[in-house]
Protein backbone atom coordinates (compact mmCIF):
# COMPACT_ATOMS: atom_id res chain seq x y z
CA UNK A 1 0.00 0.00 0.00
CA UNK A 2 2.73 2.36 -0.94
CA UNK A 3 0.51 4.95 -2.52
CA UNK A 4 -1.58 5.28 0.57
CA UNK A 5 1.35 6.39 2.57
CA UNK A 6 0.99 9.77 1.02
CA UNK A 7 -2.57 9.96 2.33
CA UNK A 8 -3.23 11.88 5.48
CA UNK A 9 -6.41 12.25 7.46
CA UNK A 10 -6.83 15.76 6.26
CA UNK A 11 -6.29 14.80 2.67
CA UNK A 12 -8.92 12.12 2.94
CA UNK A 13 -11.36 14.74 4.08
CA UNK A 14 -10.26 17.11 1.35
CA UNK A 15 -10.41 14.60 -1.43
CA UNK A 16 -13.71 13.11 -0.54
CA UNK A 17 -15.52 16.25 0.38
CA UNK A 18 -14.24 17.87 -2.77
CA UNK A 19 -16.36 15.44 -4.70
CA UNK A 20 -19.36 17.29 -3.36
CA UNK A 21 -18.34 20.57 -4.95
CA UNK A 22 -20.72 22.40 -7.19
CA UNK A 23 -21.76 20.14 -10.05
CA UNK A 24 -19.76 20.63 -13.19
CA UNK A 25 -21.05 20.80 -16.72
CA UNK A 26 -20.15 17.15 -17.15
CA UNK A 27 -22.33 16.19 -14.26
CA UNK A 28 -25.28 18.09 -15.64
CA UNK A 29 -24.68 16.56 -19.04
CA UNK A 30 -25.15 13.19 -17.41
CA UNK A 31 -27.90 14.16 -15.04
CA UNK A 32 -30.31 15.94 -17.37
CA UNK A 33 -30.66 13.01 -19.79
CA UNK A 34 -31.46 10.74 -16.87
CA UNK A 35 -34.31 13.07 -15.97
CA UNK A 36 -35.49 12.93 -19.53
CA UNK A 37 -35.52 9.15 -19.60
CA UNK A 38 -37.15 8.93 -16.20
CA UNK A 39 -39.84 11.21 -17.61
CA UNK A 40 -40.26 8.96 -20.61
CA UNK A 41 -40.50 5.91 -18.39
CA UNK A 42 -43.13 7.65 -16.34
CA UNK A 43 -45.05 8.48 -19.49
CA UNK A 44 -44.90 4.83 -20.54
CA UNK A 45 -46.23 3.78 -17.16
CA UNK A 46 -49.11 6.24 -17.25
CA UNK A 47 -49.88 5.14 -20.79
CA UNK A 48 -49.91 1.55 -19.63
CA UNK A 49 -52.15 2.24 -16.66
CA UNK A 50 -54.56 4.12 -18.87
CA UNK A 51 -54.91 1.57 -21.64
CA UNK A 52 -54.20 -1.60 -19.76
CA UNK A 53 -51.33 -3.97 -19.53
CA UNK A 54 -51.94 -5.00 -23.12
CA UNK A 55 -49.69 -2.23 -24.34
CA UNK A 56 -46.83 -4.35 -23.07
CA UNK A 57 -45.85 -7.37 -25.09
CA UNK A 58 -47.35 -9.85 -22.66
CA UNK A 59 -49.47 -12.61 -24.04
CA UNK A 60 -50.79 -15.99 -23.15
CA UNK A 61 -48.89 -17.95 -21.82
CA UNK A 62 -46.06 -15.52 -21.05
CA UNK A 63 -47.65 -13.50 -18.29
CA UNK A 64 -44.38 -12.21 -16.91
CA UNK A 65 -41.73 -10.66 -19.04
CA UNK A 66 -39.40 -7.72 -19.03
CA UNK A 67 -40.81 -6.11 -15.89
CA UNK A 68 -40.13 -9.10 -13.70
CA UNK A 69 -36.80 -9.55 -15.45
CA UNK A 70 -35.98 -5.99 -14.50
CA UNK A 71 -37.19 -6.62 -10.98
CA UNK A 72 -34.96 -9.62 -10.47
CA UNK A 73 -32.10 -7.87 -12.22
CA UNK A 74 -32.25 -4.85 -9.93
CA UNK A 75 -32.73 -6.92 -6.82
CA UNK A 76 -29.67 -8.84 -7.94
CA UNK A 77 -27.69 -5.64 -8.44
CA UNK A 78 -28.72 -4.60 -4.99
CA UNK A 79 -27.19 -7.66 -3.49
CA UNK A 80 -23.54 -7.10 -3.87
CA UNK A 81 -23.81 -3.78 -2.05
CA UNK A 82 -24.90 -5.48 1.09
CA UNK A 83 -22.53 -8.29 0.43
CA UNK A 84 -19.57 -5.94 0.25
CA UNK A 85 -20.61 -3.87 3.20
CA UNK A 86 -21.96 -6.53 5.52
CA UNK A 87 -20.53 -9.89 4.71
CA UNK A 88 -17.08 -8.62 3.92
CA UNK A 89 -17.31 -6.44 7.00
CA UNK A 90 -17.91 -9.49 9.11
CA UNK A 91 -15.00 -11.22 7.39
CA UNK A 92 -12.86 -8.09 7.89
CA UNK A 93 -11.88 -8.00 4.25
CA UNK A 94 -10.11 -4.71 3.96
CA UNK A 95 -10.52 -4.38 0.23
CA UNK A 96 -14.13 -3.47 0.82
CA UNK A 97 -13.48 -0.21 2.61
CA UNK A 98 -12.97 2.08 -0.31
CA UNK A 99 -15.84 0.77 -2.36
CA UNK A 100 -18.45 -0.19 0.15
CA UNK A 101 -20.15 3.18 0.22
CA UNK A 102 -20.65 3.22 -3.53
CA UNK A 103 -21.83 -0.36 -3.34
CA UNK A 104 -24.26 0.47 -0.57
CA UNK A 105 -25.60 3.44 -2.44
CA UNK A 106 -26.01 1.19 -5.41
CA UNK A 107 -27.90 -1.26 -3.22
CA UNK A 108 -30.36 1.28 -1.95
CA UNK A 109 -31.00 2.79 -5.36
CA UNK A 110 -31.25 -0.61 -6.98
CA UNK A 111 -33.82 -1.74 -4.42
CA UNK A 112 -35.69 1.50 -4.96
CA UNK A 113 -35.69 0.71 -8.66
CA UNK A 114 -36.55 -2.93 -8.19
CA UNK A 115 -39.39 -2.05 -5.86
CA UNK A 116 -41.12 -0.16 -8.65
CA UNK A 117 -41.45 -3.15 -10.91
CA UNK A 118 -43.82 -5.31 -8.92
CA UNK A 119 -46.18 -2.36 -9.01
CA UNK A 120 -45.56 -1.50 -12.64
CA UNK A 121 -46.29 -5.06 -13.68
CA UNK A 122 -49.61 -5.28 -11.86
CA UNK A 123 -52.76 -5.41 -13.92
CA UNK A 124 -54.39 -2.99 -11.52
CA UNK A 125 -51.49 -1.07 -9.98
CA UNK A 126 -53.84 1.29 -8.19
CA UNK A 127 -54.72 -1.59 -5.88
CA UNK A 128 -51.14 -2.47 -4.99
CA UNK A 129 -51.73 -1.72 -1.32
CA UNK A 130 -53.97 -4.76 -1.11
CA UNK A 131 -50.77 -6.73 -0.85
CA UNK A 132 -50.10 -5.33 2.59
CA UNK A 133 -51.84 -6.77 5.61
CA UNK A 134 -53.65 -3.72 6.87
CA UNK A 135 -56.94 -3.80 8.76
CA UNK A 136 -59.81 -3.02 6.42
CA UNK A 137 -63.58 -3.06 6.44
CA UNK A 138 -63.62 -6.07 4.15
CA UNK A 139 -62.07 -8.05 7.00
CA UNK A 140 -59.78 -9.62 4.47
CA UNK A 141 -56.13 -10.31 5.00
CA UNK A 142 -53.47 -11.39 2.62
CA UNK A 143 -52.28 -14.82 1.64
CA UNK A 144 -49.11 -15.51 3.56
CA UNK A 145 -48.62 -18.65 1.53
CA UNK A 146 -47.97 -16.71 -1.63
CA UNK A 147 -44.33 -16.23 -2.60
CA UNK A 148 -45.36 -12.81 -3.85
CA UNK A 149 -46.28 -11.85 -0.33
CA UNK A 150 -42.93 -13.11 0.85
CA UNK A 151 -41.52 -10.76 -1.72
CA UNK A 152 -43.46 -7.89 -0.29
CA UNK A 153 -42.02 -8.57 3.14
CA UNK A 154 -38.54 -9.43 1.94
CA UNK A 155 -38.11 -6.49 -0.40
CA UNK A 156 -39.56 -3.93 1.96
CA UNK A 157 -37.44 -5.29 4.81
CA UNK A 158 -34.46 -5.23 2.56
CA UNK A 159 -35.11 -1.68 1.47
CA UNK A 160 -35.52 -0.55 5.06
CA UNK A 161 -32.52 -2.36 6.43
CA UNK A 162 -30.19 -1.52 3.61
CA UNK A 163 -31.23 2.12 3.68
CA UNK A 164 -30.61 2.21 7.44
CA UNK A 165 -27.31 0.49 7.05
CA UNK A 166 -26.35 2.93 4.34
CA UNK A 167 -27.36 5.87 6.43
CA UNK A 168 -25.85 4.73 9.72
CA UNK A 169 -22.53 4.05 8.09
CA UNK A 170 -22.58 7.58 6.81
CA UNK A 171 -23.34 9.47 10.02
CA UNK A 172 -19.73 10.25 11.01
CA UNK A 173 -18.93 11.19 7.43
CA UNK A 174 -21.88 13.53 7.25
CA UNK A 175 -20.64 15.09 10.44
CA UNK A 176 -17.34 15.67 8.72
CA UNK A 177 -19.07 17.38 5.85
CA UNK A 178 -21.13 19.39 8.23
CA UNK A 179 -17.93 20.61 9.79
CA UNK A 180 -16.59 21.64 6.44
CA UNK A 181 -19.41 23.34 4.62
CA UNK A 182 -20.33 26.90 5.32
CA UNK A 183 -23.28 27.78 3.08
CA UNK A 184 -26.44 27.93 5.07
CA UNK A 185 -28.79 25.46 3.43
CA UNK A 186 -26.22 22.72 3.10
CA UNK A 187 -24.99 23.29 6.62
CA UNK A 188 -28.48 22.86 8.01
CA UNK A 189 -29.23 19.80 5.96
CA UNK A 190 -26.01 18.07 6.88
CA UNK A 191 -26.45 19.10 10.50
CA UNK A 192 -29.82 17.44 10.60
CA UNK A 193 -28.55 14.36 8.80
CA UNK A 194 -25.52 14.03 11.05
CA UNK A 195 -27.86 13.69 14.03
CA UNK A 196 -25.43 15.73 16.06
CA UNK A 197 -22.55 13.35 15.68
CA UNK A 198 -19.50 14.43 17.60
CA UNK A 199 -17.30 11.44 17.47
CA UNK A 200 -17.02 10.95 21.21
CA UNK A 201 -15.92 7.66 22.64
CA UNK A 202 -19.44 7.07 23.91
CA UNK A 203 -20.91 7.47 20.46
CA UNK A 204 -18.24 5.29 18.87
CA UNK A 205 -18.85 2.57 21.37
CA UNK A 206 -22.53 2.15 20.57
CA UNK A 207 -22.01 2.96 16.97
CA UNK A 208 -19.56 0.16 16.38
CA UNK A 209 -21.79 -2.32 18.19
CA UNK A 210 -24.87 -1.24 16.32
CA UNK A 211 -23.01 -1.39 13.05
CA UNK A 212 -21.92 -4.89 13.83
CA UNK A 213 -25.49 -5.97 14.50
CA UNK A 214 -26.65 -4.34 11.33
CA UNK A 215 -24.02 -6.25 9.45
CA UNK A 216 -25.08 -9.41 11.22
CA UNK A 217 -28.68 -8.81 10.22
CA UNK A 218 -27.93 -7.73 6.72
CA UNK A 219 -26.01 -10.88 5.97
CA UNK A 220 -28.81 -13.42 6.36
CA UNK A 221 -31.20 -10.86 4.99
CA UNK A 222 -29.32 -10.48 1.76
CA UNK A 223 -29.21 -14.23 1.37
CA UNK A 224 -32.89 -14.58 2.20
CA UNK A 225 -34.09 -11.82 -0.08
CA UNK A 226 -32.71 -13.25 -3.22
CA UNK A 227 -33.73 -16.70 -2.12
CA UNK A 228 -37.26 -15.40 -1.72
CA UNK A 229 -37.08 -13.81 -5.14
CA UNK A 230 -35.94 -17.12 -6.53
CA UNK A 231 -38.84 -18.85 -4.82
CA UNK A 232 -41.22 -16.71 -6.82
CA UNK A 233 -40.20 -19.11 -9.51
CA UNK A 234 -39.14 -22.21 -7.65
CA UNK A 235 -42.41 -22.48 -5.73
CA UNK A 236 -44.37 -22.88 -8.94
CA UNK A 237 -44.71 -26.10 -10.87
CA UNK A 238 -43.58 -24.75 -14.21
CA UNK A 239 -40.84 -26.74 -15.92
CA UNK A 240 -37.75 -24.56 -15.79
CA UNK A 241 -38.87 -22.84 -12.61
CA UNK A 242 -39.61 -25.69 -10.30
CA UNK A 243 -36.14 -26.56 -9.04
CA UNK A 244 -34.47 -26.67 -5.66
CA UNK A 245 -31.24 -25.18 -6.89
CA UNK A 246 -32.78 -21.78 -7.44
CA UNK A 247 -32.04 -20.14 -4.10
CA UNK A 248 -28.25 -20.56 -4.09
CA UNK A 249 -28.17 -20.14 -7.85
CA UNK A 250 -29.95 -16.81 -7.62
CA UNK A 251 -27.86 -15.59 -4.71
CA UNK A 252 -24.66 -16.40 -6.53
CA UNK A 253 -26.01 -14.78 -9.65
CA UNK A 254 -26.99 -11.71 -7.68
CA UNK A 255 -23.54 -11.30 -6.19
CA UNK A 256 -22.04 -11.89 -9.59
CA UNK A 257 -24.14 -9.25 -11.27
CA UNK A 258 -23.82 -6.85 -8.34
CA UNK A 259 -20.06 -6.99 -8.41
CA UNK A 260 -20.23 -6.43 -12.13
CA UNK A 261 -22.29 -3.34 -11.54
CA UNK A 262 -19.92 -2.11 -8.81
CA UNK A 263 -17.07 -2.29 -11.24
CA UNK A 264 -19.10 -0.61 -13.95
CA UNK A 265 -19.86 2.24 -11.56
CA UNK A 266 -16.54 2.63 -9.77
CA UNK A 267 -14.25 2.61 -12.76
CA UNK A 268 -15.53 5.90 -14.20
CA UNK A 269 -15.91 7.47 -10.75
CA UNK A 270 -12.36 6.55 -9.85
CA UNK A 271 -11.16 8.10 -13.05
CA UNK A 272 -13.25 11.26 -12.92
CA UNK A 273 -12.71 12.06 -9.28
CA UNK A 274 -9.11 10.84 -9.25
CA UNK A 275 -9.71 8.34 -6.52
CA UNK A 276 -6.85 6.11 -7.61
CA UNK A 277 -5.35 6.45 -4.15
CA UNK A 278 -8.53 5.22 -2.55
CA UNK A 279 -9.92 2.59 -4.88
CA UNK A 280 -6.84 0.63 -5.57
CA UNK A 281 -5.99 -2.21 -7.89
CA UNK A 282 -6.03 -4.48 -4.87
CA UNK A 283 -9.70 -3.65 -4.42
CA UNK A 284 -10.43 -4.64 -7.98
CA UNK A 285 -8.38 -7.74 -7.64
CA UNK A 286 -10.48 -8.78 -4.66
CA UNK A 287 -13.73 -8.15 -6.49
CA UNK A 288 -12.50 -9.94 -9.58
CA UNK A 289 -11.75 -13.02 -7.51
CA UNK A 290 -15.28 -12.98 -6.17
CA UNK A 291 -16.61 -12.61 -9.68
CA UNK A 292 -14.58 -15.62 -10.69
CA UNK A 293 -16.05 -17.64 -7.89
CA UNK A 294 -19.64 -16.64 -8.54
CA UNK A 295 -19.23 -17.09 -12.27
CA UNK A 296 -18.21 -20.65 -11.59
CA UNK A 297 -21.24 -21.20 -9.35
CA UNK A 298 -23.54 -19.76 -11.98
CA UNK A 299 -21.92 -21.85 -14.67
CA UNK A 300 -22.33 -24.94 -12.52
CA UNK A 301 -26.02 -24.09 -12.09
CA UNK A 302 -26.49 -23.84 -15.85
CA UNK A 303 -24.95 -27.23 -16.25
CA UNK A 304 -26.73 -28.97 -13.44
CA UNK A 305 -30.09 -27.64 -14.62
CA UNK A 306 -29.55 -29.33 -17.92
CA UNK A 307 -28.39 -32.50 -16.32
CA UNK A 308 -31.32 -32.67 -13.93
CA UNK A 309 -33.79 -31.97 -16.71
CA UNK A 310 -32.38 -34.86 -18.68
CA UNK A 311 -32.03 -37.10 -15.68
CA UNK A 312 -35.59 -36.46 -14.50
CA UNK A 313 -36.97 -38.21 -17.55
CA UNK A 314 -39.81 -35.74 -17.62
CA UNK A 315 -40.64 -34.73 -21.17
CA UNK A 316 -41.76 -31.33 -19.94
CA UNK A 317 -38.52 -30.61 -18.10
CA UNK A 318 -36.23 -31.89 -20.79
CA UNK A 319 -38.34 -30.25 -23.47
CA UNK A 320 -37.95 -26.95 -21.68
CA UNK A 321 -34.17 -27.07 -21.47
CA UNK A 322 -33.72 -28.46 -24.93
CA UNK A 323 -35.85 -25.61 -26.14
CA UNK A 324 -33.80 -23.03 -24.27
CA UNK A 325 -30.68 -24.04 -26.06
CA UNK A 326 -32.19 -24.61 -29.48
CA UNK A 327 -35.51 -22.79 -29.75
CA UNK A 328 -36.55 -19.33 -30.77
CA UNK A 329 -34.79 -17.84 -27.78
CA UNK A 330 -31.54 -19.76 -28.26
CA UNK A 331 -29.65 -16.58 -29.09
CA UNK A 332 -30.50 -15.13 -25.68
CA UNK A 333 -29.54 -18.36 -24.00
CA UNK A 334 -26.13 -18.40 -25.59
CA UNK A 335 -25.60 -14.70 -24.91
CA UNK A 336 -26.19 -15.56 -21.28
CA UNK A 337 -23.77 -18.48 -21.29
CA UNK A 338 -21.04 -16.57 -23.08
CA UNK A 339 -21.35 -13.44 -20.96
CA UNK A 340 -21.59 -15.18 -17.63
CA UNK A 341 -19.39 -18.20 -18.01
CA UNK A 342 -17.00 -17.69 -20.90
CA UNK A 343 -16.15 -14.02 -20.69
CA UNK A 344 -15.09 -14.07 -17.00
CA UNK A 345 -12.68 -16.96 -17.64
CA UNK A 346 -9.62 -14.71 -18.24
CA UNK A 347 -9.98 -13.52 -14.66
CA UNK A 348 -8.00 -16.56 -13.66
CA UNK A 349 -4.98 -14.50 -14.68
CA UNK A 350 -3.79 -11.92 -12.21
CA UNK A 351 -2.79 -9.47 -14.92
CA UNK A 352 -6.37 -9.44 -16.17
CA UNK A 353 -7.76 -8.93 -12.72
CA UNK A 354 -5.60 -5.85 -12.35
CA UNK A 355 -6.40 -4.39 -15.74
CA UNK A 356 -9.05 -1.76 -15.19
CA UNK A 357 -10.07 -1.43 -18.82
CA UNK A 358 -10.64 -5.13 -19.34
CA UNK A 359 -12.49 -5.35 -16.06
CA UNK A 360 -14.74 -2.51 -17.07
CA UNK A 361 -15.64 -4.03 -20.41
CA UNK A 362 -16.11 -7.42 -18.81
CA UNK A 363 -18.41 -5.97 -16.18
CA UNK A 364 -20.69 -4.56 -18.85
CA UNK A 365 -20.92 -7.97 -20.47
CA UNK A 366 -21.70 -9.46 -17.08
CA UNK A 367 -24.54 -7.01 -16.63
CA UNK A 368 -25.93 -7.89 -20.04
CA UNK A 369 -25.52 -11.59 -19.44
CA UNK A 370 -27.23 -11.47 -16.08
CA UNK A 371 -30.16 -9.50 -17.45
CA UNK A 372 -30.61 -12.16 -20.06
CA UNK A 373 -30.27 -14.90 -17.47
CA UNK A 374 -33.36 -13.59 -15.73
CA UNK A 375 -35.12 -13.02 -19.03
CA UNK A 376 -34.38 -16.59 -20.07
CA UNK A 377 -35.51 -18.10 -16.83
CA UNK A 378 -38.74 -16.15 -16.86
CA UNK A 379 -39.75 -15.92 -20.47
CA UNK A 380 -38.48 -19.14 -21.97
CA UNK A 381 -39.92 -21.23 -19.15
CA UNK A 382 -43.27 -19.55 -19.48
CA UNK A 383 -43.42 -19.81 -23.22
CA UNK A 384 -43.21 -23.60 -23.03
CA UNK A 385 -45.20 -24.97 -20.15
CA UNK A 386 -46.74 -28.38 -19.77
CA UNK A 387 -49.44 -28.06 -22.38
CA UNK A 388 -48.16 -27.73 -25.94
CA UNK A 389 -51.45 -26.25 -27.07
CA UNK A 390 -50.70 -23.21 -24.96
CA UNK A 391 -47.21 -22.45 -26.12
CA UNK A 392 -46.42 -18.99 -27.33
CA UNK A 393 -43.67 -16.55 -28.04
CA UNK A 394 -43.27 -13.23 -26.31
CA UNK A 395 -41.57 -10.10 -27.55
CA UNK A 396 -41.40 -6.93 -25.48
CA UNK A 397 -43.14 -3.81 -26.68
CA UNK A 398 -41.83 -0.27 -26.79
CA UNK A 399 -43.59 0.44 -23.52
CA UNK A 400 -41.63 -2.22 -21.71
CA UNK A 401 -38.40 -1.06 -23.27
CA UNK A 402 -39.27 2.52 -22.34
CA UNK A 403 -39.89 1.60 -18.74
CA UNK A 404 -36.73 -0.50 -18.59
CA UNK A 405 -34.65 2.36 -19.95
CA UNK A 406 -36.49 4.63 -17.55
CA UNK A 407 -35.54 2.34 -14.69
CA UNK A 408 -31.87 2.58 -15.58
CA UNK A 409 -32.22 6.34 -15.78
CA UNK A 410 -34.02 6.34 -12.43
CA UNK A 411 -31.16 4.39 -10.89
CA UNK A 412 -28.49 6.63 -12.35
CA UNK A 413 -30.43 9.72 -11.41
CA UNK A 414 -30.26 8.73 -7.77
CA UNK A 415 -26.69 7.69 -8.12
CA UNK A 416 -25.62 10.99 -9.64
CA UNK A 417 -27.42 12.89 -6.91
CA UNK A 418 -25.70 10.68 -4.39
CA UNK A 419 -22.29 11.44 -5.84
CA UNK A 420 -22.85 15.14 -5.39
CA UNK A 421 -24.50 15.12 -2.00
CA UNK A 422 -23.08 12.34 0.09
CA UNK A 423 -19.57 11.02 0.60
CA UNK A 424 -19.03 8.31 -1.96
CA UNK A 425 -16.09 6.86 -0.12
CA UNK A 426 -16.24 6.28 3.58
CA UNK A 427 -14.10 8.94 5.21
CA UNK A 428 -14.03 7.18 8.55
CA UNK A 429 -13.13 3.79 7.25
CA UNK A 430 -10.48 5.20 4.96
CA UNK A 431 -8.93 6.71 8.04
CA UNK A 432 -9.03 3.37 9.76
CA UNK A 433 -6.83 2.07 6.99
CA UNK A 434 -4.24 4.74 7.57
CA UNK A 435 -1.59 4.40 10.27
CA UNK A 436 -2.65 6.01 13.48
CA UNK A 437 -0.72 9.27 14.22
CA UNK A 438 1.63 8.74 17.11
CA UNK A 439 4.22 10.94 18.58
CA UNK A 440 6.37 7.97 19.43
CA UNK A 441 6.55 4.76 17.59
CA UNK A 442 4.61 2.12 19.40
CA UNK A 443 6.68 -0.31 21.24
Amino acid sequence: MSEQNTLTYARVNDDIIRMLDKPTFKWWALFLPTLLFVGFGLFCFIYQVHYGLGVAGYRHPVFWGVYITDFVFWVGIAHSGTLISAILFLFRANFRMSIYRIAEGMTVFAVLTAGLFPIIHLGRPWNFYWLFPYPNQRELWVNFKSPLLWDVFAVSTYLTVSALFFFIGMIPDIAAIRDRVTEVPRKIIYSILSLGWKGSNWEWLHYTRAYLFFAAFATPLVLSVHSVVSWDFAMSNLPGWHTTIFAPYFVAGAIFSGLGMVITLTVPIRKIFHLEDYITLDNYDGMAKLIMLTSCIVGYAYGIEFFMAWYSGSPAEWGQFYYRATGEYALFYWIMVVCNVVIPLPLWFKSVRRNIKILFIMSIFINIGMWFERFNIIVISLSRGFDPAAWGIYTPSWVEIGITVGSFAWFFMFFLIFLKTLPSVSITEMKELLPVPRKEAKT
Binding site: K145, K198, G199, S200, H206, P437
Partner: protein
Amino acid sequence: MSDKQGVLGIFTYLDVTIETVKKLRDAGFKNLRVFSPFPNHEIEEVMDEPESIVRFFTLFGAMLGAACGVGFTVLMSSDWPISVSAKPIVSLPPFMVIIFELTILMGALSTLVGLLVNSRLRRNAPRTMYDTRFSEDKFGIMITCSKEGVKDAEEILTSQGAEDIKFDSI
Protein backbone atom coordinates in the same frame (compact mmCIF):
# COMPACT_ATOMS: atom_id res chain seq x y z
CA MET B 1 -27.79 26.87 34.98
CA SER B 2 -25.27 24.63 36.44
CA ASP B 3 -21.92 25.17 37.96
CA LYS B 4 -20.29 22.50 35.87
CA GLN B 5 -17.53 23.55 33.63
CA GLY B 6 -16.22 21.90 30.53
CA VAL B 7 -12.62 21.88 29.43
CA LEU B 8 -11.72 20.64 25.99
CA GLY B 9 -8.21 19.78 24.94
CA ILE B 10 -7.31 19.08 21.35
CA PHE B 11 -4.52 16.70 20.36
CA THR B 12 -2.89 15.49 17.18
CA TYR B 13 -1.49 12.18 18.36
CA LEU B 14 -3.39 9.21 19.58
CA ASP B 15 -0.76 8.02 22.00
CA VAL B 16 -0.56 11.44 23.60
CA THR B 17 -4.33 11.54 23.89
CA ILE B 18 -4.43 8.20 25.64
CA GLU B 19 -1.64 9.18 27.96
CA THR B 20 -3.45 12.36 28.87
CA VAL B 21 -6.59 10.45 29.61
CA LYS B 22 -4.68 8.24 32.01
CA LYS B 23 -3.12 11.28 33.64
CA LEU B 24 -6.40 13.06 34.04
CA ARG B 25 -7.95 10.01 35.56
CA ASP B 26 -5.06 9.72 37.98
CA ALA B 27 -5.64 13.31 38.88
CA GLY B 28 -9.16 12.39 39.84
CA PHE B 29 -11.14 13.57 36.85
CA LYS B 30 -13.83 11.01 36.33
CA ASN B 31 -16.07 12.62 33.76
CA LEU B 32 -14.07 12.35 30.60
CA ARG B 33 -15.02 12.13 26.97
CA VAL B 34 -12.67 11.44 24.13
CA PHE B 35 -13.32 12.57 20.58
CA SER B 36 -11.76 10.89 17.58
CA PRO B 37 -12.30 10.95 13.83
CA PHE B 38 -12.65 7.16 13.74
CA PRO B 39 -13.38 4.35 16.15
CA ASN B 40 -10.31 3.14 17.95
CA HIS B 41 -9.71 0.21 20.24
CA GLU B 42 -7.11 1.88 22.32
CA ILE B 43 -9.47 4.67 23.22
CA GLU B 44 -12.13 2.13 24.02
CA GLU B 45 -9.73 0.30 26.27
CA VAL B 46 -8.55 3.30 28.12
CA MET B 47 -12.04 4.64 28.65
CA ASP B 48 -13.14 1.25 29.91
CA GLU B 49 -16.81 1.82 29.37
CA PRO B 50 -19.26 -0.98 30.11
CA GLU B 51 -20.31 -3.14 27.14
CA SER B 52 -22.83 -1.38 24.91
CA ILE B 53 -26.42 -2.28 25.74
CA VAL B 54 -27.48 -1.84 22.13
CA ARG B 55 -27.34 -5.64 21.91
CA PHE B 56 -30.31 -5.94 24.23
CA PHE B 57 -32.29 -3.63 22.05
CA THR B 58 -31.37 -5.80 19.13
CA LEU B 59 -32.29 -8.99 20.88
CA PHE B 60 -35.57 -7.62 22.09
CA GLY B 61 -36.46 -6.24 18.66
CA ALA B 62 -35.63 -9.48 16.93
CA MET B 63 -37.71 -11.49 19.36
CA LEU B 64 -40.57 -9.09 19.10
CA GLY B 65 -40.32 -9.32 15.32
CA ALA B 66 -40.45 -13.09 15.40
CA ALA B 67 -43.44 -12.98 17.70
CA CYS B 68 -45.15 -10.47 15.44
CA GLY B 69 -44.41 -12.70 12.49
CA VAL B 70 -46.01 -15.69 14.13
CA GLY B 71 -48.90 -13.60 15.35
CA PHE B 72 -49.56 -11.91 12.04
CA THR B 73 -49.50 -15.01 9.97
CA VAL B 74 -51.37 -17.32 12.29
CA LEU B 75 -54.01 -14.89 13.46
CA MET B 76 -54.68 -13.27 10.11
CA SER B 77 -54.90 -16.63 8.38
CA SER B 78 -57.33 -17.95 10.94
CA ASP B 79 -59.40 -14.78 11.05
CA TRP B 80 -61.04 -15.61 7.75
CA PRO B 81 -59.93 -19.08 6.84
CA ILE B 82 -59.63 -19.30 3.09
CA SER B 83 -58.49 -22.61 1.78
CA VAL B 84 -55.92 -22.67 -0.96
CA SER B 85 -54.54 -25.66 -2.76
CA ALA B 86 -55.51 -28.23 -0.14
CA LYS B 87 -53.07 -26.74 2.33
CA PRO B 88 -53.98 -26.30 5.99
CA ILE B 89 -55.12 -22.82 6.91
CA VAL B 90 -52.20 -22.43 9.30
CA SER B 91 -49.24 -24.01 7.63
CA LEU B 92 -45.99 -22.92 9.14
CA PRO B 93 -43.46 -23.65 6.39
CA PRO B 94 -44.57 -20.76 4.19
CA PHE B 95 -45.03 -18.54 7.22
CA MET B 96 -41.39 -19.03 8.19
CA VAL B 97 -40.34 -16.62 5.49
CA ILE B 98 -42.56 -13.89 6.87
CA ILE B 99 -41.45 -14.61 10.42
CA PHE B 100 -37.83 -14.46 9.39
CA GLU B 101 -38.19 -11.19 7.53
CA LEU B 102 -40.06 -9.58 10.38
CA THR B 103 -37.40 -10.74 12.81
CA ILE B 104 -34.76 -8.98 10.78
CA LEU B 105 -36.85 -5.88 10.21
CA MET B 106 -37.82 -5.34 13.80
CA GLY B 107 -34.35 -6.30 14.98
CA ALA B 108 -32.78 -3.74 12.72
CA LEU B 109 -35.25 -1.04 13.65
CA SER B 110 -34.77 -1.57 17.36
CA THR B 111 -31.02 -1.57 16.88
CA LEU B 112 -31.42 1.84 15.34
CA VAL B 113 -33.47 2.94 18.27
CA GLY B 114 -30.87 1.49 20.61
CA LEU B 115 -28.15 3.43 18.86
CA LEU B 116 -30.06 6.68 18.93
CA VAL B 117 -31.03 6.32 22.54
CA ASN B 118 -27.72 5.16 23.90
CA SER B 119 -25.33 7.34 22.01
CA ARG B 120 -27.57 10.33 22.69
CA LEU B 121 -27.62 11.22 19.06
CA ARG B 122 -30.60 13.34 19.69
CA ARG B 123 -29.42 16.83 19.20
CA ASN B 124 -29.17 18.08 15.72
CA ALA B 125 -26.29 20.51 16.13
CA PRO B 126 -23.12 20.07 18.16
CA ARG B 127 -22.96 21.99 21.39
CA THR B 128 -20.06 24.23 22.08
CA MET B 129 -17.76 21.63 23.45
CA TYR B 130 -16.83 20.31 20.12
CA ASP B 131 -14.32 21.16 17.53
CA THR B 132 -14.81 20.60 13.86
CA ARG B 133 -11.30 19.24 13.64
CA PHE B 134 -12.53 16.09 15.36
CA SER B 135 -14.19 15.00 12.22
CA GLU B 136 -10.97 15.54 10.38
CA ASP B 137 -7.77 14.54 12.04
CA LYS B 138 -7.66 15.67 15.67
CA PHE B 139 -8.40 13.94 18.92
CA GLY B 140 -10.03 15.64 21.83
CA ILE B 141 -10.57 15.17 25.51
CA MET B 142 -13.41 16.86 27.26
CA ILE B 143 -13.32 17.10 31.00
CA THR B 144 -16.46 17.95 32.89
CA CYS B 145 -15.64 19.23 36.33
CA SER B 146 -16.52 21.76 38.95
CA LYS B 147 -15.23 25.30 38.63
CA GLU B 148 -12.45 24.46 40.97
CA GLY B 149 -11.10 21.66 38.84
CA VAL B 150 -10.71 23.71 35.71
CA LYS B 151 -7.34 24.95 36.60
CA ASP B 152 -5.93 21.48 37.27
CA ALA B 153 -7.35 20.14 34.11
CA GLU B 154 -5.90 22.94 32.06
CA GLU B 155 -2.54 22.34 33.59
CA ILE B 156 -2.51 18.67 32.72
CA LEU B 157 -3.69 19.37 29.21
CA THR B 158 -1.07 22.01 28.62
CA SER B 159 1.62 19.83 30.02
CA GLN B 160 0.65 17.07 27.63
CA GLY B 161 1.03 19.48 24.74
CA ALA B 162 -2.56 20.09 23.81
CA GLU B 163 -2.76 22.18 20.71
CA ASP B 164 -5.72 24.08 21.88
CA ILE B 165 -7.79 24.29 25.03
CA LYS B 166 -11.37 25.52 25.24
CA PHE B 167 -13.59 26.32 28.19
CA ASP B 168 -17.26 26.53 28.55
CA SER B 169 -19.85 26.29 31.17
CA ILE B 170 -22.32 23.50 30.72
